[in-house]
Symmetry: C2
Subunit: 168 residues, 2 copies
Amino acid sequence: MPDSVALDRFDHALLDLVQVDNQMPARLLADRVGLSESAVLRRLRRLRQSGVIAADVAVVDPVVLGLPLTIHVLVSLEREGAMELDAFARRLRGRPEVRRAWSVTGEADFVLLLQVADMGAYDGFARAVFHDDPNVRAFRTITAMRQVVGAGDGAAPMRRPVRPVTSR
Amino acid sequence: MPDSVALDRFDHALLDLVQVDNQMPARLLADRVGLSESAVLRRLRRLRQSGVIAADVAVVDPVVLGLPLTIHVLVSLEREGAMELDAFARRLRGRPEVRRAWSVTGEADFVLLLQVADMGAYDGFARAVFHDDPNVRAFRTITAMRQVVGAGDGAAPMRRPVRPVTSR
DNA sequence: GATGAAAGGCGACGGAG
DNA sequence: CTCCGTCGCCTTTCATC
């Protein structure tokens, strides 16, 4: 683990490619960025060990899993002490609907990004997390119609349209 | 491309694992879910071809790239016709600061998720995209202090803290 | 249809020059 | 950085239920 990392244009080129498809063979990456296969492998290894590449993940389409509704929520708490913020954050982490959440400054205390099956599911979530929590002063719901930048949950392009799924 | 996809508990278990690390050998996956290596490989193949797994990507830590600031913006437009919405969406797609953006209903027309180096960078972005666009009626900035659910850009855990990077 | 075991081939990794 | 050898993993095929 080096103390600091320096990225040149080759590293940036590799990062651009591997952020779209991290299963591409090193041979192809080498051709695209103008390096040898060995060099590509070594650089990727360094990028992963140094933490520049924080993880390698499969991106699952929420729509296919039956969670087509994307909802943003701005949550304001009554008391904004460190303990209360932590407690709320912990509760969020226990809810599978919450894909991401940030503690924020400004008009709200938290920004939530949810992925749910339908409005009924969101209603149940709101009751459990917002209404039943006396420390939640207010929340504002923003329903997404379509994602216009980025795709799915990662920054990678979708592969093809797929019909919803039946879980058995 | 099958007309519909059915997922059983093995598929869900595989998805859970591969969403955290898609480079795990099939041998390990097989041990964890209780299947043979062959079965695991075949199932993953189907999940990818059917689009349930939409992509396989490397997650790059924005902080290491020198973009530690996460900012949400609620944007309201003057005229909300389809043409105006599309035009604005197209401009967003041209800006590297915009990690994700949604067209939404409710108090705003767009929700933006930005990743920038500092407030100066955001100021430049705001001038170019908001102030210089006569169709932007208002925008509200929400600065994230810390992400409390999810990690980085993907849903995967960070690997280790790393010092910022110098680009050369 | 599904699974699990074995043979083959491609790609990643390490060392030498 | 390139070349080469080894090893590990994915692919394919097969028998089986």
